[in-house]
Amino acid sequence: MAKKSVQALMRPSHLPLILLGAAMTVYGLTMALVGSWFSNQAMRGLITAGAYRARMAAFDAAAGIVAGLLFCALFIWCAVSARGGVRVAFAIGAVASLAPVLSARAEELLFSRLGLPTMNAGSVLAGAVTTLLFALPMVILFILLASGPGIPAGCRWLSLLSIFIVLATAFFPIYVTVLAFLIKPGDPAVGRMIEVSSQVIKLRYILPGLSFLLLAGISARFARRGPAA
């Protein structure tokens, strides 16, 4: 009962986790690159803000659906390949795949469909909700991995770290936006934080993706050495 042997995260192979990590990283990278490409053009005035909005919205919607479906499938595959607490963790993680799908239409859903009051920071609110939608399952996932008894120690420490990474990348930008638009508009210190947070926000998917890849790596190494122990 209390005695439980430590096992690799997945069997037979870590392919689903590697794929999930890779997909997340690639999605994050693409979003960051395309986003900065568009925003760069818009800030130089090469395209109008209107065109920027239209393109970003189109890209968000398309990439979001593809990524969402892909993530969902891979999460499920991971869950199937794992067992016990790890399986539960990845099953919960699957909820996070809703986030990319919703990010493009969070505002419409929240304010037109659900009829929430918009106050005067609608998009900040919507951003917070989608972020929560991604971050909450991911945090639970990593907490479960970090506290799972039958999981290789390296994976658990990495998961612990990942909790903070997810929380930081998710909430720092929101914190800065709230600060900048509601609490301390005009503060130069907050201005510099915008600079930082606009970089941090790009890491939102990349870092957890890399975490998954690393986890797969550690676990795979453990699996190779594990049976010996």
Partner: protein
């Protein structure tokens, strides 16, 4: 009490009651509207979604108003104005109404003084001379500028004088027999018999003081001496759209905020709403006595 000899048939009675209830609702509507606005969110108010029930309930407007020291200051000045101005007005009203209510043979100059006061209602020299006189008498920027220039409310004098005349002569004559002078007649006989009309006039005077805004705006030399309605006027005015520049943005934003406006208007109504029901029962007899000569 009421000459209610017949009863309406059921259906007509129902119709009667319905129409009256509707009328009452019509009169209550504006107050409820203001109240609902003041408890609604700014966005809901700005998009016109508020009727008589708060939308997106919030106390923000009240917090904003109560956090604003200018509002509180003005409120106190207005209270003070009512507390000082009403007695001053009432004393002068009574003192003028009594001589004017004497029959012509008892007070030969009565008609002269009557017209003396009535003329002031009809003719005025305009703003500038009025302002100059007040300045010459040293009242500019003084609290008393809100009290003294309008200290004799002529319409109320007429109301009270008429009411004095409805009091049976016999009572006065009896008192006079006992050696009572004018002062005794006024204070021992007339005033105790005129309570309803006094209550009515008091309310008129108090409300007039509470509601007046123009004199405060013109006669005070700084906004921290404005009475409440003058202050409100500066908050609820609409800016001339042709004169707007980017420097007026902060003003524009505050002005377009209907909820805080509503909250201030509502708070400004509270004293009246509180006093009114207590004095209301005197109205019927009070107004009648003042307006009809027996």
């Amino acid at each position: 009490m009421n000459p209610r000899i017949y009863k309406l048939p059921f259906f007509e009675n129902l119709l009667n009651l319905t129409v009256l209830a509707l009328l009452a609702a019509l009169c209550l509507f504006p107050i409820l509207h203001i109240l609902a606005l003041s408890f609604s969110s700014a966005a809901a108010a700005a998009s016109g979604r508020v009727a008589v029930w708060p939308v997106e309930f919030t106390l923000q407007s009240y917090q904003f108003v109560l956090d604003n020291p200018a509002f509180g200051k003005s409120f106190i000045i207005s209270l003070l104005r009512v507390l000082v101005g009403t007695p001053v007005n009432m004393i002068l009203t009574i003192l003028v109404a009594y001589p004017l209510s004497r029959p012509r043979d008892k007070f030969r100059a009565r008609d002269f003084f009557a017209w003396f006061f009535i003329i002031t209602v009809l003719f005025s020299g305009g703003l500038i001379p009025w302002y100059m006189v007040i300045r010459q008498t040293g009242l500019i920027d003084k609290f008393w500028a809100l009290i003294l220039p309008g200290a004799v409310p002529v319409f109320n004098v007429i109301l009270l004088a008429n009411s004095f005349r409805t009091i049976p002569k016999e009572l006065e004559e009896a008192a006079a027999m006992d050696g009572a002078g004018h002062w005794t007649v006024l204070f021992k006989v007339l005033l105790p018999l005129s309570l309803p009309v006094l209550a009515t006039v008091t309310l008129f005077v108090a409300v007039a003081h509470w509601n007046s805004w123009f004199d405060g705006l013109i006669l005070m030399n700084s906004p921290d001496k404005y009475p409440l309605q003058s202050y409100l006027q500066t908050v609820v005015v609409n800016p001339d759209p042709r004169m707007l520049t980017e420097r007026d943005l902060d003003l524009l934003k505050i002005i377009s905020n209907r909820t805080t406006r509503a909250a201030q208007i509502f708070i400004a109504m509270i004293p009246i709403l509180m006093v009114y029901p207590f004095l209301q029962r005197y109205f019927t007899s009070g107004i009648k006595l003042g307006s009809v000569k027996g």
